[in-house]
């Protein structure tokens, strides 16, 4: 099987099973307890956290959560708001941010959405025009889960500091972490979300990086773990394996190889499909994602046809499984005829050029078959 939906999730590194066993069976102690064994576990957690912070070049703390979605929720709901404040987010934020700010909007908080270009990159002029000094929170995703577009977070943070000094800047880095080198200090963000299963870690582990001195309110109260910001007994094997997975992913990262594969696929798709729109701008995008849309075509059918040939790809968010979610293609300015035909290829470090060639070959045959059905021949 050729798996080309790594932006949805990745296969966990098998050796993580050993880490799970170590901290779930052998060294299973509750880090909050007072005996020496627990202290050992606490130290391992601390080391893992520091390792993650080092890899991401941060200077602060990480609050571990049960998912990237939870970390995003924490950023939105945890920010201390003030009277008549405003929240600014981009048009194509992941639902974890979008639905959270929608909730606040329904409660009367002023929320504004910044438009993006056809590749999903935040429109700087629109951003500046909406960046007033009453902004309490800005949230712009680092890399777009649909198109792979990379936003210039460093610049957006600088603009925010000038125009809205009271604002906290959050960036959802779920897709970016493990795909491009991250320097949180240089980016200057106050909060940054990641999720372990996107870089071959376990599902059920996410984290919110908090820059030094950044204060937010907790969503989950209880025993006061994670500096009181996320109570719950720590997911020890999850945390420790996340550090392992992140380290290994960055060691294996070969951006040039990914770029070659993605360009090869893109070039060939354009030859096969006459009305193809590329939603990915290779100059400002993750090297592992290719998003495209085909006119008047059901992307979902192509997904099934390819699956029957042993190839797994992803649909865009406008697939029939989530009919109501036409938000992203609309934000990208796609016309209606392309909504159902949005597809996404996302490779990882193990994808080879042979896989790409096989995909292109099978895609051509599936697409031609579907075309013949649709034209009634």
């Amino acid at each position: 099987m050729i798996y080309l939906d790594n932006s949805a999730t990745t296969a966990m590194y098998p050796e993580i099973l050993d880490i799970i066993k170590e901290y779930a069976v052998d060294n299973f102690y509750n880090p909050s307890a007072l005996y020496t064994k627990s202290l050992g576990v606490t130290k391992d957690i601390k080391r893992a956290k520091q390792k993650i912070i080092d890899i991401l070049h941060g200077s602060g703390n990480i609050i571990f959560t049960a998912s990237g979605t939870e970390a995003d929720n924490m950023a939105v709901f945890g920010v201390k708001r003030f009277k008549d404040c405003k929240i600014l987010v981009s048009d194509i934020e992941h639902s974890a941010i979008y639905q959270s700010v929608k909730r606040l909007q329904a409660q009367g908080v002023l929320v504004e959405f910044v438009t993006v270009d056809k590749y999903g990159i935040v429109d700087e002029d629109d951003f500046i025009s909406k960046l007033t000094d009453n902004v309490a929170l800005v949230s712009v995703m680092h890399a777009c889960n649909e198109t792979g577009a990379i936003n210039d977070i460093e610049r957006l943070v600088k603009l925010t500091r000038q125009a809205a000094p009271r604002a906290l800047f959050h960036s959802d880095g779920v897709q970016a972490v493990g795909k491009i080198p991250i320097n949180l200090t240089r980016l200057g963000v106050d909060m940054y979300t990641f999720s372990a299963h996107k870089f071959h870690g376990m599902k059920g582990v996410g984290g919110l990086y908090l820059k030094k001195c950044v204060q937010i309110n907790p969503l989950i109260l209880g025993g006061g773990q994670e500096h009181g910001l996320r109570s719950a007994t720590e997911n020890v094997s999850g945390i420790i394996s996340t550090a392992y997975a992140l380290n290994k992913t960055y060691r294996n990262l070969n951006i040039d190889k990914n770029k070659q594969i993605i360009s090869f696929i893109a070039e060939n798709l354009q030859k096969i499909v006459p009305n193809l729109i590329l939603n990915t701008n290779f100059e400002k995008s993750l090297s592992n994602i290719l998003s495209f849309a085909i006119k008047n075509t059901r992307g979902e059918v192509l997904v099934h046809l390819l699956e029957d040939k042993g190839i797994i790809i992803g649909t865009g968010s406008a697939c029939s499984a989530q009919k109501a979610h036409t938000r992203v293609p609309l934000a990208l300015g796609l016309s209606k005829e392309y909504f159902d035909g949005m597809l996404r290829i996302s490779i990882d470090n193990s994808t080879t050029m042979d896989d790409a060639e096989e995909f292109v070959k099978e895609f051509a045959s599936c697409y031609n078959y579907l075309e013949s059905v649709m034209s009634g021949n």
């Binding site: 059901r298 979902e300 059918v301 099934h304 046809l305 699956e307 029957d308 029939s320 499984a321 989530q322 009919k323 109501a324 159902d340 059905v373 649709m374 009634g376 021949n377």
Partner: protein, 388 residues
């Protein structure tokens, strides 16, 4: 003293000579439904009793019984050897909280000299002595203590009468083949016919890869929910892709749905006859969509040669159907977004009032249709649907 659940019969109570048949069927259905619990069913005149179960599962048993058609009502009760002087002693410790109460006595055992009212007075007096904080309110009591004195020297005491669906025991009114889509209506149609005692088989048309595996899973899930009411049944999944493609290839766009439905009922009737089903069941509601206008129904009906097509929702509004679908718990599954027909095969403007002659002409345009139909029928996948 023992905890039991009283089961009262619905309409079969009124049956004449063949009442025995209905009773036996109801007993069998109850036993099937309760087979997952450790309990026994006792039969008595015009009633059943569930006994021998652990008190903790009483609520679950009642929930299951509420889904068995043919039951009028159920009551969790305490069973004791008839002894009027002991009733208050036995129930007082576990009496539900209430400030006011009344005692209602039914005395089938005529060997007891006291009248029902006198017995009620005596038991009420005993309760007041044991629970002096309570008082009697004959007209509007918070708690009605029913004492049912049966002829076999046994009494039952219960406080509530839980209404069930009534209807007829499933299996008493033949077997029907339900055309089950993933929508809101067809599961409700199946439920309604099962309520009238019909045993259900179901058929679904699947167009993979133009619809997803999830669409089929959704139908299986809906089948599972319906089977809580009608028992386990086979679901016939017809591979419909080639026929869909042929319709798309040969027929006028506005007639695509009309012809599709003609073929669907035709295949359904053939499978129904093979499975000894005496009817087709559809979730059609007059005028709800283009394919359910009187003209469209006339056209699809024309393809059914020998079986009646039962349309239990024909006069119902969508809101009424949704209400039932929520009540029987199919709604949440029905509204999952997986479509059962790909938009490729859906015309933008389907014909609302198709003429039979035109529809037949379109139907006849499909080259090799009978072979495609035979092929689909020969490749039907049969899924056993079991209670959830």
């Amino acid at each position: 003293m023992e905890k039991v659940i009283i089961i009262r019969f619905g309409e079969i109570f009124l049956k004449g000579k063949n009442k025995k048949f209905f009773e036996n069927l109801l007993e069998k259905n109850i036993k099937n439904a309760l087979s997952i619990y450790d309990c026994i069913i006792e039969k008595s005149h015009n009633r059943f009793y569930v006994a021998g179960y652990n008190a903790e599962i009483e609520d679950s048993i009642i929930e299951t019984l509420k889904k068995v058609f043919g039951i009028h009502s159920v009551s969790p009760a305490v069973k004791m050897p008839t002894d009027i002087s002991q009733v208050a002693n036995i129930i007082c410790d576990d009496l539900p909280y209430a400030k006011t109460f009344r005692v209602t006595v039914k005395r089938a055992d005529k060997t007891i000299i006291l009248t029902s009212t006198e017995i009620a007075g005596q038991i009420g007096g005993d309760i007041l002595q044991l629970k002096p904080q309570m008082s009697v309110d004959l007209h509007n009591p918070e708690l009605n203590i029913n004492v049912d004195i049966r002829e076999n020297k046994t009494s039952y005491i219960y406080y509530e009468n839980i209404k069930c669906y009534e209807g007829m025991p499933v299996g008493s009114s033949g077997k029907g083949l339900l055309l089950l889509s993933g929508g809101i209506d067809s599961p409700v149609a199946g439920f309604r016919m099962a309520k009238r005692g019909m045993q259900i088989n179901a058929i679904h048309f699947h167009s993979y890869p133009f619809t997803s595996i999830q669409a089929k899973e959704k139908v299986v899930e809906l089948g599972g929910i319906i089977s809580n009411y009608c028992g386990h049944f086979p679901l016939f999944v017809v591979p419909f892709t080639k026929i869909q493609q042929a319709i798309h290839q040969y027929c006028r766009e506005d007639f695509m749905i009309t012809v599709m439905r003609m073929i669907m009922v035709e295949i359904s009737e053939r499978i129904a006859i093979k499975q000894n089903c005496g009817a087709l069941i559809t979730g059609e509601s007059l005028g709800q969509v283009a394919s359910q206008t009187l003209e469209s129904i006339t056209v699809t009906n024309s393809r059914v040669k020998s079986l009646p097509v039962l349309r239990p929702l024909i006069d119902m509004d969508k809101t009424e159907i949704i209400k039932i679908s929520k009540e029987i718990e199919t709604f949440e599954t029905s509204i999952l977004p997986y479509e059962d027909c790909c938009t490729i095969f859906l015309p933008k403007n389907p014909i609302i009032k198709p003429k039979l002659s035109v529809a037949e002409a379109e139907y006849n345009k499909i080259v090799g249709l009978q072979d495609l139909i035979d092929d689909a029928i020969n490749n039907v996948e049969i899924i056993k649907i079991k209670n959830k």
